[in-house]
């Protein structure tokens, strides 16, 4: 990468060695995975080639009858509702956990560090299980409902948001905080008037990105049987109505683009 000045010979040798090892490891992973993929006969179903052609051709044109568009709008609404509820719950849970995990509250000491480490572990556990696995488990435990699905989205997302929030809160420059501290501000005030405002833009833009992901997560919650875009895609696939599948995929695409566009605009408006 970028070297400032000339590194010592031993340092250079070490860097070259790392690079060679890295190349070897990555190339090895590539070869191993490609070799293990099972390229033998019967990769494609009998007639799979034809159905792929049918699928691709069904885009011209997708199903646009008013009745089906109505259904697609209703499904999009369901998906949005679950995504929004999931992300808001994730923010409400993730923000306080993130603040605690950042270790910026309370008096410095061993107990504070222990609590921060414990919360970080909890966050890691929450996000290490995929939202759909949470959903499958929750449905088995509580039964299927909108709230189960929202909870299944909110838990891993709170884990991710909490971790990112705590990193962003820790990454703010210390200088302005020292200024606050020297004028006698308590840790809570340092957080509220120092760390939070400085990290806010990044926190918001990451939350927006996660909102985009939550839309996808809500869409695939169909897998446990909740209605939404994924549910309709599954039904249309089962009926071999590929033109309907395309319409629904384009609706999902539009939703994600909309959020993407909105978040880019918000970032620009905040960043100025």
């Amino acid at each position: 990468m970028i070297w400032i000045g000339t590194p010592k010979a031993s340092g250079l040798a070490r860097v070259l060695e790392t690079r060679r090892l890295l190349t070897l490891v990555l190339a090895g992973a590539l070869v191993w995975s490609l070799a293990g993929a099972g390229w033998g006969g019967g990769i494609v179903h009998t007639g799979g080639g034809n159905s792929l052609k049918g699928f691709l051709l069904a885009l011209f044109p997708p199903e646009v009858s008013p009745g089906f568009l109505n259904l697609a709008f209703a499904a999009s609404w369901q998906t949005i509702v679950h995504a929004v509820a999931g992300i808001t719950l994730a923010i409400v849970v993730g923000l306080p956990l993130g603040v605690i995990a950042s270790g910026s509250l309370g008096n410095p000491g061993r107990s504070r560090l222990a609590i921060a480490a414990g919360v970080r572990l909890l966050l890691a556990f929450m996000r290490s299980i995929h939202e759909l696995v949470w959903a499958v488990l929750f449905v088995a435990a509580f039964g299927l409902s909108s709230l189960t699905v929202v909870l299944a989205i909110a838990i891993p997302y709170a884990g991710i948001l909490g971790r990112i929030y705590s990193e962003l809160l820790n990454d703010v420059p210390e200088r302005p905080l020292d200024g606050l501290r020297s004028s006698g501000a308590s840790p809570v005030r340092v957080l509220l008037y120092g760390r939070m405002p400085m990290a806010l833009t990044d926190m918001l833009s990451y939350s927006f990105y996660r909102f985009e992901c939550a839309i996808r997560a809500a869409a695939i919650m169909s897998f446990v049987g909740i209605r939404g875009l994924g549910f309709e895609i599954q039904l249309s696939l089962n009926d071999l109505r590929f033109d309907e599948v395309w319409t629904l995929l384009l609706f999902l695409f539009a939703l994600v683009l909309l959020v993407d566009y909105g978040s880019a605009k918000v970032r620009r408006s905040l960043g100025s």
């Binding site: 990468m1 860097v15 790392t18 890295l22 490891v25 992973a29 590539l30 191993w32 995975s33 490609l34 293990g36 993929a37 099972g38 019967g42 990769i43 494609v44 179903h45 799979g48 159905s51 792929l52 699928f55 949005i80 509702v81 679950h82 929004v84 509820a85 808001t88 290490s128 299980i129 995929h130 759909l132 696995v133 499958v136 088995a140 509580f142 039964g143 299927l144 409902s145 909108s146 709230l147 189960t148 918001l204 997560a217 869409a219 695939i220 897998f223 994924g230 895609i233 599954q234 696939l237 599948v245 995929l249 999902l252 695409f253 939703l255 994600v256 993407d260 605009k265 408006s269 905040l270």
Partner: protein, 285 residues
């Protein structure tokens, strides 16, 4: 003090809050909200018995045998599936990485308009927009939906799952890598060009060395996400732990479910550690 203006950010914040309130009202007012269940003793006792069965404390449904996660033979059997799952995740990242490697340059605006060498042309301009659209679309469709579509054409196994995961991540890493090139310091490339370097030489010495570490870092980050998603994609593409998870759950073999969750967590932690190590090597290399 100035009065706060109604900026776009403020307006969209209010808009989002309104949407949030509407969503929660819609969910809680719905007939199937599940709110009553949450406060009913029956649901919680169901959940508690589910948890007991996961832990093998309630032999009622699991046939009374030893919990699967205390059985070395079961560990070995599911270990093979865990290996397949790992293979699927690496294969998915390989597909995504190879795809991005071939297409990320023309998807960068400063390459397509000739700022970094080459000659701008209508073809390149069109290619830029097409690639950006492909990135956006493959990214917008979740892995599981790709998998549902792909199992219509390919036989179940590791491959369709890896392709589904690869497609979604191709869009994500492709967009990020193209942006790396767009935000790149044009200095080295310009210096090379003024020293008379050809297009290939500029690529090899001016662009790739700057973009490569970022590209690898993104791939490794995505690998951490992919390993969490392989199980889910396995639900439909039948490769690795996902299928077993679903079968066990529908046959009420809950201690087997617990064993698979254990393998899943082991994979997630191992990949996180390995990816962190490799990312450090990318930084120091």
């Amino acid at each position: 003090m100035t009065r706060p203006r109604l900026t776009f950010a403020r307006a969209s914040l209010y808009g989002f809050l309104a949407l949030a309130v509407a969503s929660w009202v819609y969910i809680l007012a719905g007939a199937d909200s599940g709110l009553e269940d949450l406060f009913s003793g029956r649901a919680w006792s169901n959940a508690a018995s589910f948890l007991r069965q996961l832990l093998g404390l309630d032999a009622g449904l699991s046939g009374g045998g030893r919990p699967a996660f205390l059985d070395l033979g079961r560990w070995a059997e599911t270990g093979k599936l865990a290996y397949k799952t790992l293979l699927m995740s690496v294969l998915a990242i390989s597909f995504a990485g190879l795809g991005v490697l071939v297409t990320f340059l023309p998807a960068a605006r400063n390459v397509s308009n000739g700022e970094l060498g080459g000659r701008p042309s209508v073809g390149l301009g069109v290619l830029y927009h097409v690639l950006r659209l492909v990135f956006a679309f493959t990214r917008a469709v979740p892995e599981l939906v790709w998998a549902m579509v792909i199992v219509f054409f390919l036989s179940p196994g590791v491959l369709p799952g890896a392709i589904a995961l690869g497609l979604h991540n191709y869009g994500i890493v492709g967009k990020l890598s193209a942006e790396v090139v767009e935000n790149m310091d044009p200095g080295p490339a310009r210096a090379l060009r003024s020293a008379g370097a050809g297009n290939l030489q500029m690529l090899a010495y001016g662009i790739i060395p700057q973009a490569m570490p970022q590209f690898l870092t993104y791939l490794l980050y995505r690998w951490e996400v992919v390993i969490r998603t392989t199980v889910v994609v396995g639900f439909v593409s039948a490769g690795g732990l996902g299928r077993e998870f679903r079968l066990n759950l529908s046959f009420f073999q809950y201690t087997d479910v617990a064993l698979i969750i254990l393998w899943y967590l082991i994979l997630v932690v191992a990949v996180d550690l390995l990816s962190a190590l490799l990312r450090r090597m990318v930084r120091t290399g």
